[in-house]
Structure formats: C-alpha cells, structure tokens
C-alpha cells in the first residue's frame, strides 16, 4: 500500500510527522554563530559603525555588501577582536568579543584583505605552523593540513615555497589556513579583491563547497554584486548602518519586477513622461531612465507605443543587488566621486582598521 492506508493510519502518520518536525525544530534551535546588538565604533568625530544589530545562523553564508568606507571592515575587525567596540555587544561562537577575546579567536578563522602567509615557508608549513599556534593536538595537525590542501587543490604544491604561488593560490592557501583549527565562523574580508574573474569564481566555488564539507559559517564582506548574490543572506551597509538585511531574492523582490531602462536625447523629459503616464517612479542612472515594473517583457511594447518623446534605446534586465542598493541609498556602490567624508572614512579605515589589540 503505497500511500496512507486506513484513515486511522493517516492521522497517526500526520501526528508522527508533526512530532518529527517539532523535534527537528527543537534540535535545530541553537545560538546563532554571530549575534551583534547595538554595536558602535567611533574614530574621533567619525562614526564608522553606527548602532548595528544582526544575527548570523549556524553554517550560513552571510555577506556584508557596501561601498568602501561603509564600515564593513570595521565591523568585521570588531567581531575578530582586533578592534574594541565603542558601544554594544557582539557574540561570536557564544563568546563576547570584549570579554573573552581569546575564546573568540579560537572560534574563528580569518582571511584578511592583504596576504598574511609566510612566503618563505611552504604551503604545508604555513598550515602546520598555524595548527601549532592554535594548540591543535599534535597528531591531528598533519592529517588536517593534508585534507585541507587536498580540498583547496594545492596538494601537488604542498611542499613548494609560497613565494612561487600565484595570487589565487595564495588566497586559497589562506582560506585553508583559516579553516585549520576547525573554526565555527570563517571571516573573509573582501576575499577576491585583486583577483581575476576566473580565479574569483573558482575561489567562490571553493568557499561554498567548504561550507558544505566543513560546516562552517562564512561571514564575508564584499563590494562585488555577484559575490553578494551567492550569499544566503546579505546585509547592505552604507555610512555605518545596515540599511537592509534579507536573502538576495527577497531584497530584489522589494524592487517589484524587472528593471526597464529607456534612453533618448532628453532623458529628463523622458523621465517626466514615464512618471506621468505609467505611475512608476523613474530614476536617471547610467545615462538612462530606469524604473521597475512587473513582467518587463510584456510592458516594453506598450511603453514604446505610448511614449511621445523619441527613444534611442530600450533595455530590460532582472534587478540586481546594485539596483537594491541604489533604490535604498540613492547612490551607486562604486561611486567614483568620493565625498570628503568618504575620503576621511577610508583614511580612517586604513589607519585604524588594522589596529590590533
């Protein structure tokens, strides 16, 4: 009897299922890997991180998306105990960063923006050194190093000096080293900056696979959209505040449909006309009038039929996180024109973001 059986059996089955779900949920309940409440960091007059609160679940890939100077690295530095918060609390792996920095450090692996591997040692030696420094049991260090080198596909280069490695190989080695001591959270600060697109993609694939094999929570900062899209949840940060936090799908869904862009000789006039005749809120981005609309493909013919202003080009695309960012902040992530405050922020970041405790 493939399905159900007697009516009584059905009820019984449903109850069992409910019970299973409930117990599963109970099992699943666990403290979040990272819990941050009202975290603030000031550098003199500048508030780099402003009253930020969020939680990151176990084995989640969590991304911090924002422009340079938004406070991403400052936040991550506080979570890694490298910077003291001005106010607020942050728990990583159940330990408060200010109260028990040592315990937090044992719980986390860090991959910095800049390389921190020893070029004169071999890949394997870098891992073994790390394992010993973190007090791993002696008999576990070498097998663990072996396993990780295998996983990041550096096993054949294990005994070569890091000096001979390419940028992508070094970064992979750093990821492997960050995972050496079985951290529960792996922090990746702009992990793919300075790498070519292909290496970026492969590194990203490694990171995802490592989450599956290592069961580690991955917490990364990025200003690349494609990287943020690949996260389970993304916190969008701007001027020290989290302005949105959700899955990439939900964030994009808030925009409502596809992005339609039209451009003509007079974009201002075009925008005015679109606003008046279609009840949408257009914005001028990338030398075009852009707005969001459900089922953009069906909409474009109607748009073109009705517009009186001359149109030179028209495009439809699915919304990206960049669009979400723009609609939330009114400016683009890779704004090239830095305001004075931005400059000061990034200066502060360079000076203070690396300060150690």
């Amino acid at each position: 009897m493939p399905f159900g059986g007697a009516p009584g059996g059905d009820t019984h089955h449903a109850v069992a299922l409910l019970r299973a779900i409930r117990s599963e949920r109970d099992d699943r309940w666990m403290p979040p890997s990272v819990r941050v409440s009202n975290l603030t960091r000031r550098f003199g007059e500048i508030t780099a991180v402003d009253d930020v609160s969020f939680e990151v679940g176990e084995a989640e890939i969590f991304g911090f998306l924002g422009p340079n100077g938004a406070g991403k690295t400052t936040t991550i530095s506080m979570l890694c105990t490298l910077l003291t918060p001005t106010a607020g609390q942050a728990y990583v792996g159940g330990h408060e960063v200010g109260e028990d920095a040592g315990a937090v450090r044992r719980e986390i692996g860090i991959v910095f923006q800049d390389s921190t591997v020893d070029e004169r040692l071999t890949a394997r030696e870098n891992l073994v050194f790390h394992g010993e420094l973190f007090g791993m049991p002696r008999n576990e260090i070498r097998p663990r190093a072996e396993q990780l080198l295998e996983r990041v596909e550096l096993a054949d280069r294990a005994d070569d000096a890091v000096l001979t490695f390419s940028g992508g190989m070094r970064r992979r080695l750093e990821v492997a080293r960050g995972l050496m001591h079985w951290p529960s959270v792996l922090f990746l600060d702009e992990p793919t900056v300075g790498l070519d697109p292909q290496t970026r993609r492969s590194l990203w694939a490694y990171a995802r696979s490592l989450r599956e094999t290592e069961g580690v929570t991955i917490f990364l900062t990025t200003h690349y959209m494609d990287e943020a899209e690949a996260c389970d949840r993304v916190a969008i940060m701007d001027y020290g505040k989290i302005i949105a936090l959700d899955t990439p799908e939900h964030l994009k869904a808030t925009l409502g449909g596809d992005v339609v862009s039209v451009s003509g000789a007079d974009n201002e006039a075009l925008a005015r006309e679109v606003r008046e005749s279609f009840e949408v809120e257009p914005r001028i981005e990338n030398d075009a009038v852009e707005f969001n609309v459900e089922r953009g493909g069906d909409f474009v013919p109607i748009l073109l039929a009705r517009l009186k202003n001359p149109v030179q080009s028209v495009g439809i695309r699915a919304p990206t996180l960049e669009d979400v960012f723009v609609s939330l902040t009114g400016h683009q992530i890779r704004d090239t024109s830095f305001s004075e405050q931005d400059k000061f922020r990034s200066m502060q970041k360079r000076g203070f973001g690396r300060r150690m405790r």
């Binding site: 860090i110 420094l133 007090g135 150690m356």
Partner: protein, 294 residues
C-alpha cells in the same frame, strides 16, 4: 536568550560535520613553534648565513695579522690576535643578535605578523619565541668561530669552549632582546638596518672588543662602562684567556680585562650578573613592545 545559553557549544546540524574544539597552545608550545620557524627560515637563507660570519673572520685576519704585527705584546705576553679572538666571538654574537630583530620587521612587511598576533596566544610567549630563535642563530654563529679557530691559528681548548657556550647563549639572549624590541617598533627593513648599525658600531668599538678597556682616556672610560656589551665581552675574554691572564703580574701597567667600576674590579661572575640584569630588562622591554604593537 542569555549569555549562559549562548556559551553552550552548538552542533552543526545543517551539515552534520562534527565540530572539533581545538586545544589551547601552552606557553612553551608557542615559544617552540615561533622559535622553530625562525630557525627554519634562517637555515634556508644561505647568503645570510655566509655573510653573518665573513666580516668577523676578515677582521680577525686583517687586524690580527696586519695590525697585530705592529702592536707590542700586551701585558702577560698575550699577542694581539689571541686578544681579539674572544672579542670577535662577542662581535659576531652582537651583530647576529641585534640583526635578528629584523625578522619582526619582515613579518610585518609580509603581513605574517598579523597571523601571529591574531592567534589566541600570549604575546610574551611570542616574544620569548622570537628572542630564543634569534639567540639560537647568534649562538650557532658564535660557535662556528670556535670551529674555525684552529684554521686561524688560535689555540683554544675544548674545555674552554664548553665553558664559553652557555655564556654565549646567555649573551645572545640578552642582546636579541634589544633587536626584538627595536624590530617591533620599526616599520621598514631599511630603517631597521640604519638604526641597528647606529647601535652596533659604537657598542662594538666601546666594548673592549678591539682594545683593552682599562687603558683609555676618562671620557671613553665613561662610555665604555655605560655600554652593556662591555660586560659581555669581558667574561668571554676572561674565560677564553684564563691561563694567559693568570700570568699577568699584579704590577702590570694595566689589566687587560675585568671591568673596574667605581674603583672596584668586577669578578667574572659579577660581570655575568650585569649581563643577566640587562638581559632581564631587555626582555621586559621587548615583551612590552610586542604587547603594544599593532
């Protein structure tokens, strides 16, 4: 949720990967691994190994053979080459010890210092590891001088060498503290080299390495006695030349070793005591420097 709840270790449910809690490195484990890395890197750097003791050998030959021939024998009939040999050992130790501090500067430049500083380990252990590493290298280099002594025509017995090695180890440790303290404060290899040269040269010339310290003008006498290296050179020479020194008559124009401080002639042990005190001070300064480094 309370903090107590949060501290319970959470299993990884989603992926089912067992969570392994890493141990905690003991103080000595940290010292050992930092020390080991220093040694490993040193022995891979062949040019540095060779350059470290070519200069003292050249000086020993040039000064000993060239200058020594024109200098009248010192009191007790000690010839100049024999006189400066213990000094050259001290010099090699001095140069290697101070220069060992450069490893912190290069670690910083490579970014590797961050890897060490974010580890959940005591900074004092990191510091002692660094110092022991540098001191070991200095000791190895100092010992090489004894190995090549017969080739250079220096007469030194194995018993004397055995007595000297622990002393040289101690002196290496003390002087490496200076190098490490310096290294944790400087940001570039170039500035480290400049500053360490500025420290090494006066310390070298005003320490009795090249000439007896008890036969110098008063102004120099003050500088010599303020120089901690003086108290390291003297005991090395006293042990190396113990037989010849015993032969010097009481009424010699000057004693070629034993530092005279405030009219009191220090014994070898008193000099070593000063070395230990200075070494302890340097250790404290170096640990402070590493603890507050960024």
């Amino acid at each position: 949720m309370t903090a107590e709840q949060a501290t319970e270790a959470a299993p990884n449910v989603r992926t089912g990967v067992p969570r392994r809690t890493g141990g905690r490195a003991s103080f000595l484990q940290v010292v050992r691994v930092i020390w080991l890395r220093e040694i490993l890197i040193y022995f891979r750097d062949k040019p540095r190994m060779i350059s470290a003791f070519t200069m003292p050998v050249i000086m020993l030959v040039m000064f000993g053979e060239g200058l020594g021939k024109s200098i009248a024998p010192l009191p007790g009939g000690i010839d100049y080459r024999q006189f400066i040999f213990p000094g050259m050992v001290a010099m090699i130790v001095l140069m290697n010890s101070i220069f060992a501090g450069v490893s912190i500067v290069t670690d910083r430049q490579f970014g590797f210092l961050r890897e060490i500083l974010v580890a959940p380990v005591s900074r004092a252990a990191i510091c002692i590891g660094k110092i022991s590493g540098g001191a070991t290298i200095a000791l190895v280099n100092g010992s090489v001088m004894f190995a090549i002594a017969p080739i250079l025509g220096i007469d030194i017995s194995l018993i004397v060498v055995a007595k000297l090695l622990p002393l040289i180890a101690l002196i290496s440790f003390m002087l490496t503290g200076v190098g490490v303290a310096l290294g944790s404060r400087l940001r570039s290899v170039e500035s480290f080299q400049m500053i360490s040269q500025m420290a090494i040269f006066p310390a070298m010339f005003l320490s009795g390495i090249f000439f007896p310290i008890n036969n110098v003008p008063t102004w120099m006498d003050v500088l010599v006695k303020l120089n901690p290296v003086t108290y390291a050179v003297a005991p090395i020479r006293e042990i190396a030349l113990s037989e010849q020194l015993a032969a010097i008559p009481e009424d010699a124009p000057f004693q070629i070793t034993h530092v005279e401080l405030f009219g009191h002639t220090l014994s070898t042990f008193e000099e070593i005591g000063i070395v230990v005190a200075f070494g302890a001070l340097m250790l404290v300064i170096a640990i402070r420097a590493i603890q507050t480094t960024e």
